[in-house]
């Protein structure tokens, strides 16, 4: 599975009242950051449109987000949202398979789509004067997709190849996939986005037709446009292309709240590999369900102090200091549709076991539970967040993705505005409080990847010398 970083927020305003985050006084400097101004509008059919004007370059990104992904699927049909995403490129009633791509290509557009647990999104990046091309195509395939059985049979083979490539032949990916299935019992986050192979093998065109009919309705979608555009023109264009599409009744989304974990879960994954790998995850709340609004932000800060960067504790103490990890880090996903995990992962250095690395990481958590982090560490994280606020505006696609994901998971794009002040108001006491409350053993899942012998044999053959020579054979690992 590709792990694409999508930074999680954009904010309209800079909170100039909280300026002491840098080591140096910078009150005059912060005022240089221009405010972002997202405009929204909802059409009569329920399609929501978000527009952010950015005229740095004569280009625009159009993203159409549907609220459907793996977390809407159930056992037996995993991977359906992603397979449908592939079929969305295979023609509509008025456009043959392949024509879509051709039209975009001759217009100089770059396009693709992505599926996650919580959404399926399609996008085009193109010269801003060709916005209507992207809009008309997206509107067409929202309602007029032809799901042809022959196309499906070929494309599902492509999806299986994608699965082999992303997961089956990659020991770490395989471990992550099995880890999720153990960490979650009934939450749909247990299933891989690409789907289990057996589900891909038994998937039918009717499954896709059903899925398309159920979820691809304008009131289940968000259109995000960022770039050198005018918001009123975008709204008018959206009305023109999408306005006539009638909404269809949406299925009720069942709760499927994860059952309370009753103790640590452990799994061992054996696969041909050279390197061991450790993955640990604690059940944590997200913005969507946090009892206290500050908690997810405190977890976000905690993750950054613990393992998010080159000066974070895990890097400093375990990678550089003790030298027991070749690499290690942490991340927290508090911005999904459902509560997710706080993850710690790493590869031990030579001579260190997975158990040793695991206890060192646990010791770091204990430290966070018993000692307040320093003000200096907290300030550093906040300084990085402010700077990132600037950097992420360098990419219109990044900006669009932040808006689209917040809106699609149900948090709402306006919460994006709250990210910075929420991070800036986190205290050292709050960091300790969430460490104590959530990073507890009973809520933990641990996976060890134990490498199995990997036998490799090389044969070289030159055209003129027919006799093949066995050059090398190596066996064993560890």
């Amino acid at each position: 599975m590709i792990l694409t970083s999508i930074s999680n927020r954009v904010n309209k305003y800079f909170w100039l009242s909280v300026l002491s985050i840098f080591l140096l006084p910078i009150s005059t400097s912060l005022a240089q950051i221009k405010t972002l101004d997202v405009a929204d509008k909802t059409l009569d059919n329920g399609l929501k449109i978000l527009v952010l004007e950015d005229s740095r370059a004569p280009v625009a990104v159009v993203q159409l987000w549907y609220r459907v992904g793996t977390s809407y699927e159930h056992e037996g049909i995993t991977g359906l949202s992603h397979a449908l995403e592939h079929l969305m490129f295979k023609g509509t009633k008025s456009r043959a398979s392949g024509e879509f791509e051709k039209i975009l290509a001759v217009n100089g557009a770059r396009n693709n789509a992505f599926t996650s647990q919580d959404y399926t999104a399609y996008y085009e990046v193109l010269a801003s004067d060709r916005l209507d091309v992207a809009m008309s195509l997206e509107a067409d395939r929202m309602r007029n997709l032809v799901l042809d059985e022959k196309e499906f049979k070929k494309e599902i083979e492509v999806v299986k190849e994608e699965r082999r490539w992303r997961t089956d032949d990659k020991p770490k990916s395989l471990t992550r996939e099995q880890f999720n299935a153990v960490a979650f019992m009934n939450s749909p986050y247990r299933a891989p986005v690409i789907g289990w192979m057996v589900d891909l093998e038994t998937m039918t065109i009717d499954d896709l037709r059903d899925w398309y009919k159920k979820w691809y309705s304008p009131d289940n979608a968000t259109l995000v446009v960022v770039g050198d555009v005018k918001k009123d023109e975008v709204f008018a264009m959206a009305e023109k292309y999408f306005g006539a599409i009638k909404k269809t009744p949406l299925p009720i989304v069942k709760l499927r709240t994860e059952v309370v974990q009753k103790g640590v879960r452990k799994l061992l994954v054996k696969a041909p590999a050279k390197l061991p790998y450790l993955r640990m995850g604690f059940k944590t709340p997200g913005v969507i369900n946090a009892e206290k609004k500050w908690e997810p932000y405190a977890l976000e800060v905690l993750s950054n102090i613990l393992g998010g960067s080159n000066s974070s504790r895990v890097t400093k103490r375990l990678v550089r200091g003790k030298g027991i990890a070749a690499s290690a880090g942490s991340y927290y996903n508090g911005f999904g549709r459902l509560p997710d995990l706080f993850i710690l992962s790493g590869t031990p250095s030579k001579g260190t076991t997975l158990d040793q690395l695991q206890s060192e990481l646990i010791a770091q958590i204990k430290d966070l539970q018993t000692h307040l982090v320093s003000e200096k560490e907290l300030k550093r994280v906040k300084a990085q967040v402010v700077a990132s606020e600037v950097y992420e505006r360098d990419s219109i696609e990044n900006l669009a993705s932040i808006l689209g994901s917040f809106e699609s998971v149900g948090i709402g794009y306006k919460e994006v505005d709250n990210y910075l002040p929420a991070i800036l108001s986190v205290t050292t006491e709050q960091v300790m409080a969430v460490a104590k409350k959530y990073l507890v053993e009973d809520q933990l899942t641990i996976a060890h990847l134990q490498p199995q012998a990997l036998v490799v044999e090389t044969v070289t053959e030159n055209k003129k010398s027919k006799s093949a020579t066995t050059v090398a054979k190596t066996g064993g690992s560890k």
């Binding site: 599975m1 590709i2 792990l3 694409t4 970083s5 999508i6 930074s7 999680n8 840098f22 080591l23 400097s29 240089q32 221009k34 740095r56 280009v59 992603h82 995403e85 592939h86 490129f89 290509a105 217009n107 100089g108 770059r110 693709n112 599926t115 996650s116 990046v125 010269a127 070929k154 494309e155 083979e157 492509v158 994608e162 082999r164 089956d168 986005v193 590999a273 050279k274 390197l275 950054n304 080159n310 550089r320 070749a326 999904g336 030579k350 550093r380 300084a383 700077a387 990132s388 600037v390 950097y391 360098d394 990419s395 994901s405 490498p451 990997l454 036998v455 090389t458 070289t460 053959e461």
Partner: protein, 436 residues
Amino acid sequence: MFKHIVVAVLLSLWIANVSQAAPKIEHWKTSNGLSVYYVSAPSLPMLDMELVFAGGSVRDGAKSGVSLLTAALLNKGADGLTADQVAEAFEDVGATFSASSNMERSSISLRTVTFVEEMESALQTWLKVVGKPEFPEQDFKRTKKQALIGLQAQKQKPGSIAEKAFYKALYGDHPYGVSGSGTEATINAMTVPDLKAYYQQYYVAKNGMLAMVGAIDRKQAEVLAERVSKVLKVGTKAAAVPEVKPLTQSKTVRVDFPSSQSHVYIGQIGNKRGDADYYSLYLGNHVLGGGGFTSRLMKEVRVKRGLSYSVYSYFMPQGQLGPYILGLQTKNKNLDEAIKVAREVLIDFVEKGPSDEEIKQSKQSITGGFPLRTASNANIISYISMIGFYGLSLNYLEEFSPKIEKLSREQVVDAFKRRVQPDKMVTIVVGGKKKS
């Protein structure tokens, strides 16, 4: 950077080549001979800098891996600061640092906000790292261990094994054929003096160039460039990379590896930066395997037959002749068919060339999409680094589309016939036995 949500997403299409646009590039030399390329980008309060040297793995010599280790050690102690202190100094002001080494380039980068105090603090730390790295023994030992782990990591990835084998088979003893990650033997034998020697020879003003994109004006840029060049020794320009000899016969390497897919690389010597055929080959390859879903390889291998998730071809121009690579992955059982189809597409393309319609569409796609290539500061700095490093025209970005526009079908056919020889190619296959 760090506070990002990581969301698991699956891209449905494969993106092979991403690319460039037309901002105004300004160029000058500092008093001690460092070449500077600068683009003013006042909209966002940020600055990107990249200092590039003619280094890279081609200049590793017998000490394979030395350029990579040198880059990795730069921020592990400089001018009295420890690795931890360097990391903190950058991150205290939200700056990001990186150092890298590829085939023939060694670079050091910085991204910082342009608020006066933060920028100054980030620059001071950066200049220490650039000009006074200390290569502490302890950090060196640890980094060596990590490099050895990195080698192990490559050995569990069929794609990495295939890539290494491809370069080795294609370039033989030429330095382009030697992996920049080194070998267990060369990494184990490496010493701090090796790194210092590499640094002293190649990280010098006359062997480098500085690219800058951001919210600083020309005057600030000039002052800054002087400061950068002052921390560097003047030095001398590195010797050019030796010429590359093309293959005279085909060659196949097969590696049995316990994976469900076979990874395939097919290729030969391609072109170089500033090559007379650069644009013809670029346009032709767009039709063949560089144009994403509209390319012939994608249509035949993936769309019509469902044989691979990703299939592509690209030229990777270097200072000398870089590789031309065609790649795909398919389940072991389909290996022969996938190679057959890919080769047929290639051979047919070289023999008959693209159609007029294909040429027209690819031209529209390349030129119409050109503004996308310089839409961000990150895009722009990677272009000006390339332009500066290879001494290409300052008008490269403006000229790109017109040059593509005026090519004829015949020029493309001719260039492919002269430059691409399907009967003299390297084929690498890394994968499992063909049972399932």
